[in-house]
Amino acid sequence: MNNNMKISVDEIQKITLQLLSRLKESKGDEIELANDYYWEISDEELYKPYEEPKNITMGQLSDDIKEIRRLISSDDAIVYDLKRLAVILRAISIENETAF
């Protein structure tokens, strides 16, 4: 098995905390996102490099934020919520390219 494709959850946790703490130092505790809608390639097509995606839908960051905020007071989290977190982190990254 290719070791490049393996990552421990601990490693992800560590690097996430590290990056978020750097972000907090640089941008403060609250970040406002400028964008809202984003294009999304369907899960079925996302990892098929030989085919051009056809099913493109539109996600909404405000909705993703609302959904993951709900999880703070509920135990209804599902794996899908990692995806929401990912698109929010991606938006922060894109909108704050030079933060640190």
Binding site: D36, Y37, E40, N55, I56, T57, M58, Q60, I78
Partner: protein
């Protein structure tokens, strides 16, 4: 509580408390008795008020069933759930059997048990029944298939009428199911804060409890995932409908408002609708995968 259907709506005979509404008499059939929703009284007395050792195992005259004749609520055999339909339920037309206890936080809760005490009695398809063994230990809940359908129907009804604030039978059933899952040993069921839990959650729990009844091989964690996914389906379905009704309400940054032309605007809206539909489909597929279907 007589229910009115809108023209074109599916006419489900199981309405208030998932009981069948007799259209001729406009009374609800509860198995043991008919219930008049307008006058909130029973037709026919509570069977437990009449001594009948062959048909019934309890008799108020002997002080049985919630204190029997020594409890005011049993002295009027026509009243419904001791005039307190929020805390008590009456699944079969006999009096509700309840127990009051303090929980770990010192909060008092009412628990209900109906008159079923063994497996011997046949489950009515509209009922949720708590089954207790001879040692008085909670054994299981049994949920009739029509009860499941009734909850789904209730969900649909609430969904179309979000301002309907009366806790419904569907919600109550869901809550029973939730508690059935949470607790295997105590007599559960606090029916009071029914509104606090979303109907989606309740339907999810109900399905989960039904699955438990059917003797599934799924682990508790898998059942929890299914329940969470079902919640997601219901909340997303609601979100989708809200979005279709008024996409501008969700236009937080004014991208729709400032779209260069209507065609672009419509494209965004349609893509957003497709996205929400896709999310629902993903959740449904995930449930199927967990269930190995």
């Amino acid at each position: 509580m007589a229910e009115q259907n809108l023209p074109g709506e599916y006419e489900n005979p199981y309405k208030f408390n998932a009981k069948e509404l007799d259209t001729e008499t406009e009374l609800y059939y509860y198995g043991a008795r008919y219930y008049n929703p307008r006058l909130s009284v029973w037709y026919g007395v509570d069977p437990l008020a009449v001594y009948n050792p062959i048909m019934e195992t309890e008799f108020y005259g002997d002080g049985q069933h919630n204190g029997g004749v020594y409890f005011w609520g049993n002295l009027n055999p026509y009243i419904y759930t001791y005039q307190n339909p929020i805390n008590f339920v009456d699944p079969n037309g006999k009096q509700s059997y309840f127990q009051s206890r303090l929980d770990s936080q010192g909060k008092r809760s009412m628990t209900f048990i109906n008159s079923y005490e063994s497996d011997n009695q046949k489950l009515n398809s509209t009922q949720v029944v708590a089954v207790f063994g001879k040692d008085n230990k909670f054994l299981k809940y049994e949920i009739g298939q029509t009860a499941v359908a009734a909850v789904q129907q209730e969900f649909g009804r609430h969904y179309n009428k979000p301002h309907l604030d009366t806790p419904s039978a569907g919600e109550a059933i869901g809550y029973v199911a939730e508690k059935a899952w949470e607790s295997n040993e105590v007599r559960p069921v606090l029916l009071a804060p029914i509104e606090a839990a979303g109907i989606g959650t309740l339907v999810g729990f109900l399905k989960m409890a039904t699955t438990v009844r059917l003797g599934t091989n799924l682990t508790k964690s898998q059942l929890k995932s299914i329940s969470s996914l079902e919640n997601q389906i219901y909340t997303h379905q609601a979100k989708l409908d809200e979005y279709i009704k008024n996409p501008m309400k969700f236009d937080n940054k004014g991208f729709l408002k400032n779209a260069p032309n209507d065609e672009v605007k419509q494209k965004i809206i349609q893509s957003r609708i497709n996205h929400l539909k896709q999310e629902i489909k993903t959740f449904q597929n995930n449930i199927k995968k967990i269930r190995n279907e």
